[in-house]
Structure formats: C-alpha cells, structure tokens
C-alpha cells in the first residue's frame, strides 16, 4: 500500500466526502425519478442503481469505500426526526396499548424467532 493512500491529507479527505455525498444524493434523486415509472420506493431504486454501477465498474471506487461505512455507522441519527412523531400519537397509543403491545412487540418477536431459526437451519447446511 502506498503511503499517500493510508494517510491522505485533510484536503483530500474533504474532497472525498464531498464526492461521496454528491454520488449518494445524485443516485437517490435518480431513484426518486425512477419511482414515477417503477412502483418501488426511491431508496430501493437507488440501492439497485448504485449496486449496478459497482457491478459495471467491477469494483467500488476508493473514495466511496473509505467514506460510506463511516456514514452508515451513524444511520441511527437520521431516524430521530421521524421517531419524534411518537409524541403526537401518545393519546392513541395509551388508548390502544394492549393491542399495540401484542401487535408490535409480540408478533415482531415471533417473526424474529421464525426467521432466525429458519435461516440458521438453511445456512448451516451450506
């Protein structure tokens, strides 16, 4: 490995982040555009476009490989605005607490058990 690759300067790191963010925004907007004809959400269309680009290139460009994992590790942050909506429905949630507990917690855990057991069995034999 060349030393310039392991210790890129601050300027290079900044440019790499700008390039990666531009790619993500561009691909996401293309995905949104495609959603008008393909009945899939923009994010899923976007994942397929980017995946297709990587497959065509035969590799992931270095700047993307170095930056995207850093963003993905902080994905939780970006859910917060949507989750704050819990506050707006607190009366409804209190009224329906039992049905919600069963429907959200009970069935989620049940489905997780089924998927975990099944995938464990299927993948073990491979």
């Amino acid at each position: 490995m060349q030393p310039t690759h392991s210790h890129p300067s601050r300027g290079v790191i900044f440019l790499e982040h700008c390039a990666s963010i531009a790619v993500l925004l561009g691909v996401f907007e293309c995905g949104a555009l495609l959603s008008q004809w393909i009945p899939l959400p923009a994010t899923i269309n976007g994942v397929f476009i980017l995946l297709g680009l990587f497959v065509v290139l035969g590799q992931v460009p270095g700047f993307i490989r170095r930056t995207i994992p850093q963003y993905l590790s902080h994905m939780s942050l970006f859910f917060v605005p949507a989750i704050m909506a819990v506050w707006l429905f607190q009366d409804d949630v209190i009224t329906h607490w039992l049905s919600l507990l069963l429907a959200l917690v009970g069935t989620t855990i049940l489905s997780m058990v089924v998927v975990m057991w099944l995938s464990h069995r299927l993948l073990k034999s491979s």
């Binding site: 994010t43 993905l72 994905m75 939780s76 942050l77 975990m116 057991w117 995938s119």
Partner: protein
C-alpha cells in the same frame, strides 16, 4: 425584503435545532459507551427522548421541531442508498447461497405484517389502524406512502415502523441467548427482514457481514411488499 428575512429566520432556527440534535446524539453515544451498549441506552431512544424533552422545555410544538429537522429526515434517503456498498461486498456469498437466503426473508416479510394485522383485526381496532399496521416492516418513507394509499395514517405508520425496529434491535441479543444462535449472517437477515432500516443500522455496527445480509433483506423485503401491495390494489 421581509420575505428574505423570514426565510433567513427559518434557516437560522432550523440550523439551531440541527445543532441541538447533533449535541443530543453526541451525548447519547457517550451514554451508550458508558453503559456498555446496553439495549435501553440505544442512541435512537436516548436522542429522541432528549429532543422531545428539549422541545417541551423550550415550549415548541413537536410538529414544528420535526419541520425544522426536515433536512436531516431527507438525508435518511440518500444514506439508505449507501447500503449498496455492504451488499456489493457480500455479493459473491449471496449469489452462492441463493434461495437459502431468500426463503427466510420472504417468509419473514409476509409473517411480520400479517400477524400484527391479524392481532389488530381480532382485537377490533379501527380500519385505519389495521391498514397502517400492514406497513410496519417496510422502510419509513415507503411505509408512510403505502399507509396513505391503503387508507391508513402516514404519521402513525412511521411510529409503528420505528417501534418495530427498536423492539427488533432490543430483542436480538435476548433471542441470541435463548435460541443459542449468534451468527453474523443470521443476525443480519433477522434484523433486515423484521426491523428494516433501524435493524440494518444496528447490523452494520455488528459486523460487515451482518450489515450486508441485513441490507439485502431490507431491499428484497421492500420489493416483495411493493409487489404484494400492487397485487392487492390492482
């Protein structure tokens, strides 16, 4: 001129809320490390609680705060697109495993929403709640659109999706212990299929392999749900 001043004010207040959000997130990361990543100290739970507390403390409507945080909410979309990277990195493994991966994803993708819908149906919840519940295992932006399409409530769909995700993330280590199954691939499939984006975010933290399988499950689940719904609506 007045219009310009008003827009500048909006940008200034929006920036202030985004800075507050980042500060709360920083605090929650510290707290999670202090509590050795205990499930109760999940950054999503702590950050959201702190932000709700702040909005009440400053006496601002939560709806208004959510509007100011719109730029952050928008960025979730482009960020989700970045999941193509872990999927690409595991493409060879995924190609080799094929249906062994697809079967659990498809089964989980059908079982999770149908079972919770059935619970609400049996307990006699309102029609709009039943329809909203159907969308609970899809990624947030899509769940909100689909809920509206089916006659559900968009805001509530986001809440269901998020609670499902948090329950999934919290239940995983417990199920790992109880079922004595703790493999990167399996954890990834479970989190991506049942706990969608929040689960995938957690899987990425667990390992590269878990992240890849979760991302794949998230994508496959999204596609099958879209197809199922178009059949239902068609």
């Amino acid at each position: 001129m007045m219009l310009l001043n008003e827009s500048l004010d909006v940008i200034r207040i929006s920036a202030m809320w985004i800075v507050l959000l980042l500060l709360c997130y920083g605090v929650s990361l510290r707290l999670a490390r202090l509590l050795k990543q205990h499930i109760i100290a999940h950054p999503i739970v702590i950050t959201t609680s702190l932000m709700l507390f702040l909005s009440q403390f400053i006496n601002t409507d939560v709806n208004v705060v959510m509007d100011y945080l719109d730029p952050v909410a928008y960025l979730l979309g482009p960020l989700t697109v970045g999941l193509a990277l872990p999927v690409y990195n595991q493409l060879a493994v995924l190609r080799q495993l094929g249906f062994k991966v697809l079967i659990p994803i498809l089964l989980g993708g059908i079982l999770a929403p149908l079972s919770s819908y059935s619970v609400l149906y049996v307990l006699g919840a309102e029609y709009s709640w039943q329809m909203t519940m159907l969308t609970k295992s899809i990624t947030t932006p899509f769940a909100m659109d689909t809920a509206t399409m089916l006659g559900g409530i968009a805001g509530l769909a986001a809440v269901f999706v998020i609670i499902t995700g948090i329950v999934g993330v919290m239940a995983l280590p417990i199920l790992n212990r109880v079922l004595r199954i703790n493999e990167g691939k399996v954890n990834g499939l479970v989190l991506g299929t049942i706990a969608h984006g929040i689960g995938t975010a957690k899987a990425v933290q667990l390992s590269e392999q878990a992240g890849a399988f979760a991302s794949l499950a998230l994508c496959v689940n999204g596609i099958t749900t879209a197809i199922t719904l178009s059949v239902l609506l068609g």
